[in-house]
Subunit: 214 residues, 2 copies
DNA sequence: GACTGTGAAGCCATTCACAGCT
DNA sequence: AGCTGTGAATGGCTTCACAGTC
């Protein structure tokens, strides 16, 4: 065997490469070099080659990579050659925005159920989905063999929802806001924290000014 | 001088520490050790100490850190001892969700203007803000001395909005989706890509299964 | 000549382990 | 005894540089 540990940064970049390549493909571009990809997404050419080398030899020396083929290989690596059903818990502002988010559908993610515990929201329609009570989670997860859950509920409720999803069979969770989840080891969790992102901006703004004084 | 290069990961964690500490403070906790912080946010104690050590000596040996003081120091480091005015461009689903997002207000970010180029959206009220046309960006940015812009528009329009914001005087941008911005060097840009996050999940799901076969 | 694939080098972040303080 | 602060060691990711191929 060969594949061992893949840096998370590599996985992130593969996702980005593949979307850049799809744009090239739409423009009719047939072949691309690591340097062109690098410029297109803002990394170094060596980085592009290294990232791809973790998974095989996809290029031709002296020529570059075939765009269509490379797209296919990367999607295969990322597990995106099939559509993934997703459940979303939380039908507030964020949940509503995520349900409508085209970026998910474009990449084969299909939201098959939206849930909330708020009686005022249950029954409401978001896109073409009816918001369901939490009790329906197990049935929907089982019916569609859902592996991925998105949790967009107030911070105090996140752990509880995570447990419900995991018990129902979900194996990967995307959460928002500052939470540390207690879930079984086999469950993959990633978090998006928008306040952190803004605070990286403010840090850089003030730190830059601070340094210019030294 | 001493401070030189701070890892971005450190900045992220400081933001997370500070919110954990605020929860402790609300509970009335006076003193905390690096080990307790570490357990609370899911990192190693040494990491916590190292992160703080970049910026000074905030603890007492044998005792730990004073919660209130440490919160204050971290907020100072992150530039959060003042409120930051923010403009948001894009009044679609995501923009609307972001405008209502409590996590921003809680940390002192105040959205002072929401803009869109869609005539159907202009004039609409989101929270207590009226959606304004793009032409108003320079005036609002100047009036409130806005340094931070959030761009939540379709991917094709992002670069154009970024340029407008930068021309108006904004120095830090938060964008969504797969874009590489062309902006002056002094402008700080960070990106949130939700599809990438989901694809990290799928990668891990399929890669785990793949590895178990080897 | 052009560009990939890759071992080696370099760089950066995290962890270790212990001296120093309370 | 307990816990911080930190130099040293480790581990991991990125860049370099070049051999290999078209």
């Amino acid at each position: 065997m060969k594949a061992l540990k893949i840096p998370e940064a590599t996985v992130q970049r593969l996702s980005i490469y593949s979307r850049f390549l799809e744009r090239l493909d739409k423009k009719g571009v047939i072949t691309v070099s690591s340097g062109e990809i690098a410029r297109g997404v803002g990394v170094s050419p060596a980085q592009v080659r290294k990232d791809l080398a973790y998974f095989g030899e996809f290029g031709t020396r002296g020529v570059g990579y075939n765009v269509k083929d490379l797209i296919h290989y990367i999607l295969k690596i990322l597990g995106l050659t099939k559509s993934w059903p997703v459940v979303l818990v939380g039908a507030g502002n964020l949940g509503t925005a995520l349900t409508a988010y085209k970026g998910f559908a474009d990449r084969g993610f299909k939201i098959v159920g939206v849930f909330d515990n708020d009686l005022l929201k249950i029954g409401k329609r978001i896109q073409d989905l009816e918001v369901m009570p939490l009790e329906k989670i197990p049935a929907v997860v089982a019916e569609h063999d859902v592996k991925i859950g998105i949790i967009a509920v107030p911070i105090g409720a996140v752990q509880n929802i995570a447990s419900i999803l995991v018990d129902a069979g979900v194996e990967a969770l995307l959460t928002f806001g500052p939470v540390v989840l207690d879930v079984p080891e086999h469950v993959v969790v990633r978090n998006v924290d928008l306040a952190v992102k803004l605070e990286i901006l403010t840090f850089n703004l003030v730190f830059r000014d601070l340094q210019s004084v030294l």
